[in-house]
Symmetry: C2
């Protein structure tokens, strides 16, 4: 299994990095792909992270999942990327592919009409930007191949949901135990 996590300046670092950590523990090949014009990106709390690749160099055909981390500015920067828009449409609509977004980021596929009539969640501040989605108000929401998360505090549950769907529930449970996650 292969996942691509988009990184843009202003991203919520731990919405991205908890997800990357948990996916890698589950054995999912996980590529952090910059949508800026350089591999070094800076998070919403000024943490500098070096992406694994430029989004334009990533082979998305072999990917099963794309992940959009939140952060208001990070989401605005992702919205400027034609690759992100193209891949959101493709992954939302292709069979056997998954689209995941958390916090501010679900507003991006929503703005493209991709969450129309779908169960979804997002940060309360962005509930007014979820055009047509059936908001659940929960930490994580799943509708078919679209997985959404509410915010930083729900990121572990969001990541475990992805592992459950891409690998197995058993694998997710094993990782929860290994990292002393209790909820």
């Amino acid at each position: 299994m292969k996942a691509v996590v988009f990184l843009a300046d202003g991203f919520e670092e731990c919405e991205a990095l908890i997800t990357v950590d948990i996916l890698r523990r589950a054995g999912v090949e996980t590529v952090m792909a910059s949508v800026m014009d350089r591999r070094q990106v800076e998070s919403s709390r000024n943490i500098k992270v070096i992406a694994d690749a430029m989004a334009s160099d990533v082979d998305f055909d072999s990917a099963d999942l794309i992940v959009l981390p939140g952060g208001r500015l990070g989401t605005e920067n992702m919205a400027k990327s034609s690759i992100v828009a193209e891949k959101c449409r493709e992954f939302a609509q292709a069979g056997g592919k998954y689209l995941a977004a958390i916090c501010a980021a679900p507003s991006l596929p929503a703005s493209m009409g991709l969450l129309e009539g779908k169960k979804a969640t997002c940060h309360p501040d962005f509930e007014g930007h979820m055009a047509g989605a059936a908001l659940t108000g929960t930490g994580v929401a799943v509708d078919g191949n679209i997985i959404t998360g509410q915010g930083l505090g729900a990121t572990f549950d969001f990541a475990f949901q992805l592992v459950s769907m891409l690998v197995s529930e058993e694998c997710a449970e094993q990782i929860k135990k290994a990292i002393c996650y209790k909820k």
Copy 2:
């Protein structure tokens, strides 16, 4: 308030970065200090992060808190740093300063005798390396000015404990709400 978070190759990236994120949200000046011979460090899950400073350049006199993130290799690398050892001893013993460690990292101050007779927690794999500590087996443990955490899955609670002690419980509660953290 000022905190210094030590970074070394092999650190559990989100044990460090969740803590940095939450401390910064709380208005605590937070410096990520590399104990390697360069500012770019690589985490246990191969995430490259650029530290704010070299540990040798940090003004610890103005710091209120030092944080030791876990990761087996990260802890081994911190153990090679004379600055980390010196500051562990100083912060554990000085009035009005705080020492915090999570996952594998509490074994480091323990190996120096600093947790002797103190309530503490750590990752289950490191409970045999906690010389003289009164192990609580809980997600977070506090004994005076020493705060310990069990593992990656307890990092939010660990970080909120630090905010409660350095800033206020009210501030910690506000951040929990802002990031949709429910527990």
